[in-house]
Symmetry: C2
Subunit: 582 residues, 2 copies
């Protein structure tokens, strides 16, 4: 094995092209095997092996700085920078994260997981280098649809003012997570068709020099290109045409499905899975029904259809009633707001972690204009996820914007009733936090009038203690209520607050007469969240308020049970805290 | 006067070119006269009079939809759409806002004040039109540097997928608020030099058709161009070359100074003003001193140098140690984070209202990476400003992000000590809310060690009542303290919390033994802010907490005294609230 002798970039320097080709095959086998066990980004990494080898062969990392966009394509880089064991030793498969991580290696500069940041970050590195009169190459690797994010454009635009070394490798594999969208990708197509010769060139229009590599999976071609641009004295794009999923036929064919896979995907016998109703299927059934009734219904999604179960068939059925705006969350909000303003019925589906990319558009383009958008927010809540993709910040982010209504359903029927309310009203933006827990059904249609804002639901009236269990955590509230009954013989009041954007002051006031303690439970960080509003409301009264939720911190792949213990989000720990003030 | 007969767009339709030229002169006089009285955007409006007349002549608004980017150039549009009195009648000068406002007129579709949104919004309108099988033109007008914002790029990119009518008028006046920056503006220059004929064309690379108008202040040329694109069936850019400040020599010469002017600017005798020290001058003195000592100090600003007192001379002196990234706040943060990571000493100056455009970059690019950036946040606090430019949301936005330290200085010496701390440390991002009240000086150097995080300052130890006066509101806290002494004979404890991102738990605990009430005062909305954290902390205790601050709402040009009364932010009203719970 060539790989036996390769642990760091220096070990590449004396290899022949043939040896490097062998090395790429060996790395490919390792990545396929490991990702099939652990799950992870398959297609992006298989497509970039050759380029990563060529980059490390030509450049002198870590003196030369590599910045990986999203950094979900850094597996080959990790293999070549001292972290091979994470791919060769099954016991160490989970030792390293799936993203660049400075705490792991000096070859990683930034902790990255969101898209479209690499050109900006590289521009900053290059400018610092120039200010300090240092000399090294700064190389950004961007692809997989990240070019459509506004931050990438801003980076390109400003980088051109550097007038010094910055090299942006554009990994063009013809895909985003799903297919590419937008005018820019037509230009990339034109550039590929003309072998880079077309005069109309997005990168040149932004002041970059430009080089095209026909076969971005050919190490020799890549090395030649990188040698040409090494130590260059001005901004240059190296546009490499690669194959997503390269070398794994099923990943080359099913590019979207193999962008990111679950463990065991390659082993699965392809038999029809039994249908299990979940929030995705319920949502999509609602959408399809309404879309047939009203041709102005339109679903908007920023490049994450898989998250929402928007299958290729679903998207095809919706046809022009579906817009994948690409990775462009800011536009997604402004566009949706305008759709609503002009009388269409927009439903936007977005992940919690990516809502973060569009605060100002939520505030200015949407809420200030009171456009009746239905925004479905997925994957909100504490999780064992990567620090880059946490879903625990959305309540502070969204619910403190004026005019917004942010709802927390707790079961299928509530969710559907909220969807119906939001879809049919014409007054204001409504966001719904799609539960990220298994779907529960009451079997009974919910006829709540959600247009009466900020009316909390009393699930059970008791006394002394009231428990407000928000969204995902209503079940925990029920458990706490039982625990309090069992251990303290108190019949607690149980409340489903429903609204994260306002308080039911009448209800809260009514609790004062026969309650001493109010407990709030929320599946997100406490800072700026729901519980603090309750604490503020009761601040001038004798009511004790205990807020339970996450701490303001970036957690990184911490098991969820550990987080629940850390934050006292178990019935036992909550009971202990209640006892202390009884 | 031609204008006497013109109240709505229909009144233009039978005018000759000569009459329209006369009309533009008449409108120019009105705008100059009014803006000189009220203050406002001078240059942008003077440059766009002819284009506005031509748009309303050719298109059929409000059936055809106009979207103004930033909408600070909508004065001519307002004159032509039923709101002439706001320019002819001094008593009505303040009746209409300086931005598009749907509540004023059906000719205005969106309430807009931030940049780079028009293409996205127009794309949504166009898509809704297509879904509903309606037929009208959608026209976006963008210029003054707004093209560099990522949201504009995202809009262009997605608009190309419409394959139907959308017309983007690019008002190219060679300027942003200050001079333009970035590679894109070189392409605009090339396009102008080649009279639109250069093949390398940013707009074409994004899939737009393209038309160039040599003299964007020539009504006849504009009408011909607009007639060519009216009812077009695909996306097109009309690139018009205008003169910012057209027709007012001093505004044509001093384009930056006359972008937005204070009342009376044209009347002022140009004599040297007496120097008055303020937070801008103190900041800039600090920067200049440090910049000389360390060539890796760099000031970053997203296109608002005037706000910070970064005069042309100041910028010139800093030279390569100053980057105006253009209107590109997302990039500003990522770029700054990387500068810090690579060992430079970045100081970013940004307005509260525009921090909103970069939440995700603050979270992911900056705070997750713990880059030691000094971020100076200007104009934070309640104000009588437009709904689009409020400074009251920054505390919830910034202070709930992990790893961030957000400081609230209350006088010159504190501010300087915080600047020094932030600049010299290498541990974490530090944001400082530059006070937006007149500078106060103690005359005594502040030797607080701000690296000991979350240590509140006790200004005066008392008992029963503790008052936490954050930043701008420490003075109000002092007044409340006096009022409480006078009226209730209570010696209140007075605290300057300093840190908005964490609590001094030791101090808060110590108050429990001899205090019954804690009052918090913050210059921003309460929801998600500082006071709620205090309320949460005391939730399990007997301490009463009263939070004072703004309500979660978009206020629009409401006099500040009215807001203070509305929110109980006066010593008398606070005393009343305290009395209720004593």
């Amino acid at each position: 094995m060539i790989l036996d002798k390769v642990n760091f970039p220096k070990d590449l320097k004396n290899l022949t092209i043939d040896e490097m080709n062998t090395l790429s095959d060996e790395m490919r086998c390792l990545i396929i095997k490991k990702v099939n066990v652990t799950g992870g980004h398959m297609g992006p990494n298989l497509g970039i092996i050759e380029a990563t080898i060529a980059m490390h062969y030509v450049f002198n990392s870590p003196v030369d700085k590599f910045v990986f966009d999203v950094s979900h394509q850094c597996y080959p880089h990790k293999i070549l920078t001292g972290r091979k064991e994470g791919f060769t030793d099954p016991d160490k498969y989970l030792k390293y994260t799936g993203y660049t991580a400075p705490e792991e290696s000096e070859y990683d500069i930034f902790k990255v997981g969101h898209t479209s940041t690499s050109v900006s970050l590289a521009t900053g590195l290059a400018k610092a280098r120039d200010l300090k009169n240092e000399k090294y190459n700064v190389v950004a690797l961007i692809g997989d649809g990240s070019l459509s994010g506004g931050e990438a454009f801003e980076g390109f635009d400003n980088a051109a003012d550097l007038n010094s070394n910055i090299i942006v490798v554009v990994n063009d594999n013809d895909m985003s997570i799903a297919e590419n969208h937008g005018g820019l990708y037509r230009n990339l197509k034109l550039l590929k068709e003309t072998k880079g010769k077309a005069e109309c060139n997005y990168f040149k229009s932004l002041g970059f020099d430009y080089l095209y590599v026909e076969d971005g999976n050919n190490i020799e071609q890549l090395i030649n290109a990188f040698k040409q641009v090494k130590d260059i004295d001005h901004p240059v794009v190296v546009h490499i045409h690669t194959i997503k999923g390269h070398g794994l036929p099923v990943a080359e064919e099913q590019k979207e499905a193999f962008h990111w896979i679950l463990p065991g995907t390659l082993d699965e016998v392809t038999e029809a899975k039994e249908f299990v109703e979940d929030y995705n299927s319920v949502t999509n059934e609602f959408i399809m029904k309404k879309a047939k009734e009203d041709s102005s219904l339109i679903v908007i999604n920023p490049a994450t259809p898989g998250v929402h179960g928007f299958s290729p068939e679903f998207r095809k059925k919706l046809g022009k009633q579906y817009t994948d705006v690409g990775i462009a969350e800011e536009h997604a909000i402004a566009y949706s707001s305008a759709l609503a303003k002009a009388g269409a019925k927009p439903i936007l589906a977005i992940m919690t972690s990516f809502v973060q990319r569009t605060y100002d558009q939520l505030s200015q383009d949407l809420c200030l204009n009171n456009s009746p958008l239905t925004m479905l927010v997925y994957w909100g809540g504490l999780s064992n996820g990567d620090a880059t993709h946490l879903g625990s910040f959305d309540i502070p982010l969204i619910s403190n914007i004026p005019n917004m209504v942010y709802l927390a359903p707790t079961n299928k029927e509530e969710y559907l009733a909220m969807l119906e309310y939001s879809y049919s009203q014409n007054e204001r933006p409504v966001a719904i936090r799609v539960p990220n827990i298994p779907l529960e059904s009451t079997g009974v249609k919910d006829d709540t009038d959600y247009s009466i804002l900020n009316k909390f639901k009393v699930v059970k009236r008791g006394k002394k203690v009231a428990i407000l269990g928000l969204g995902n955590f209503l079940n925990l509230a029920k458990d706490v209520s039982s625990e309090i009954k069992t251990k303290l013989d108190i019949d607690a009041t149980l409340i489903n607050p429903v609204y994260m954007t306002g308080l039911d002051e009448e209800l809260l006031d009514s609790l004062k007469k026969d309650h001493d303690i109010v407990i709030t439970l929320e599946d997100g960080i406490l800072d700026g969240g729901f519980g603090e509003k309750i604490a503020r409301y009761y601040g001038n009264s004798d009511m004790k308020v205990l807020n339970f939720g996450g701490k303001k911190e970036f957690t990184d792949r911490v098991p969820i049970e550990e987080l629940y213990t850390r934050y006292h989000l178990t019935k036992e720990l909550i009971l202990d805290d209640v006892k202390k003030i009884l």
